[in-house]
């Protein structure tokens, strides 16, 4: 039987080779065939989860609830150096200096990454802004979001904080952060489905000790992950509870 492995579509494109290397490492370590499936948007990934087609997922926090509470997945690990934090930016020439300076009919540029959009929407609430009195323009990637701001086509942009940090200095200089989230407990997680439950503890150990071998470190480097931190079930339940409170409006 070939296991099906999917990664959340919001991975940085330059990590694609890294995920294939990781998949090869997983196949050798587990001694079974694993097919790495890439999805180009969150909807098609969700459909695959809903129709029970996946056994391993590197999941956006937004999909964690569906995977764990409905599809009986269990969390394995998260990347030590990666957290999902959002930042809201304007073009440097934009008159807004604070979130509270924003007015109804604000145009927002964002990608389709669901947790970042949710955090962005929460961070504009202090200006009494919400989905009903703003206009959301969905872009293919963060460079396009930045372009919307620089061209004056959007007032604010929602970014993954890391994605903003990795823009070129030239672009960054023309953008101004209005607010940056510091939530610290929302992160992507590697999760395993029911067929892997009997190997769960073994898999967690393999992942969390990956950085102790030279080969393992090479694989992690390709993914720009410093090491995998094991996640216990209650930690992921806690993150899901937190996400649940944020989705209520």
């Amino acid at each position: 039987m070939t296991l099906q492995f999917a990664i959340s579509p919001d991975f940085p494109p330059e990590h694609i080779a890294g995920w294939y290397i990781f998949n090869t490492w997983l196949q050798r370590t587990l001694d079974c065939a694993i097919h790495l499936q890439l999805y180009d948007n969150f909807n098609t990934l969700r459909k695959a989860i809903e129709s029970d087609r996946l056994d391993l997922v590197y999941a956006n926090p937004f999909d964690a609830s569906l995977l764990i509470r409905e599809k009986h997945f269990m969390s394995l690990a998260r990347a030590d150096n990666l957290q999902d934090e959002a930042i809201i930016l304007t073009a440097d020439q934009h008159p807004a200096r604070h979130i509270e300076d924003l007015c109804p009919d604000t145009i927002i540029a964002a990608t389709d990454v669901p947790d970042i959009e949710m955090m962005g929407m929460i961070m504009i609430e202090p200006a009494d802004l919400n989905r009903d009195n703003t206009q959301l323009v969905t872009c293919d990637n963060y460079v396009m979001v930045a372009k919307q701001l620089l061209n004056g086509e959007a007032d604010i942009g929602f970014f993954l904080a890391e994605a903003f940090d990795s823009l070129s200095d030239l672009v960054k200089k023309q953008l101004r952060p209005l607010v940056r989230s510091q939530i610290q407990v929302i992160h992507h997680s590697l999760m395993a489905g029911p067929v892997l439950h009997d190997r769960h503890t073994a898999l967690m150990t393999l992942l969390s000790t990956m950085d102790t071998s030279e080969k393992g470190r090479g694989v992690l480097d390709a993914l720009k992950i410093s090491r995998w931190i094991p996640i216990d079930q209650e930690d992921s339940e806690f993150m899901i509870d937190l996400m649940d409170t944020l989705m209520i409006d």
Binding site: M123, P126, S181, I183, E237, L242, D244, T245, L246, I248
Partner: protein, 162 residues
């Protein structure tokens, strides 16, 4: 819960006697100093089924002004401000014990007598089909909503006092 201590209070204050749901009483000391909501943060706590704190995050500790040790094991009502109407918390408890999420604007009392406003969401935590605890996550409210609720709660308090 212990009475609040004049030594901990910053600036002028007034004294109030609060009677809690369980019948206990406590003297709280209240100043007019507002602490602004910390930008980009969420204030998170978890309680057991009786509303006793079992988890607080760093933003909670920073805003409440108590140490983590002082908070864990203490009823959540340690933050109750005398300007909050009973009706708000009655609604909160009625909603979450019915298994539903509650959302509302809350003025909280700090250890130093000051206050801070939040938009709070409380949800029941369900494990294996049973509610085992409650989680509350607070975010920054808009000024307009704070002003609206200041007036609304004043009116409700006056009705409750009659």
């Amino acid at each position: 819960m212990q009475d609040m201590c004049p030594r901990d209070i910053v600036g002028d204050y007034t004294e109030h006697r609060l009677r809690y749901f369980d019948g206990s009483q406590r003297t709280v000391l209240v100043s007019e100093t507002e602490t602004p909501y910390p930008e980009g943060r969420l204030i998170v706590s978890r309680t057991d089924l009786d509303g006793v704190l079992t988890h607080v995050n760093q933003s909670f500790v920073d805003m409440a002004g108590y140490t983590k040790q002082e908070l864990i094991g203490t009823p959540h009502s340690i933050l109750r401000h005398p300007d909050m109407p009973r009706a708000a918390f009655a609604d909160l408890w009625q909603t979450v014990t019915a298994g539903k999420p509650w959302q509302g604007y809350v003025k909280n009392l700090r250890k130093d007598g000051g206050y801070y406003w939040v938009l709070a969401t409380v949800i029941p935590n369900v494990r294996q089909g049973r509610v085992v605890s409650y989680t509350s996550v607070r975010r920054k409210p808009s000024r307009g909503k704070v002003e609206e609720h200041t007036a609304l709660y004043r009116k409700l308090r006056m009705e409750e006092d009659q």
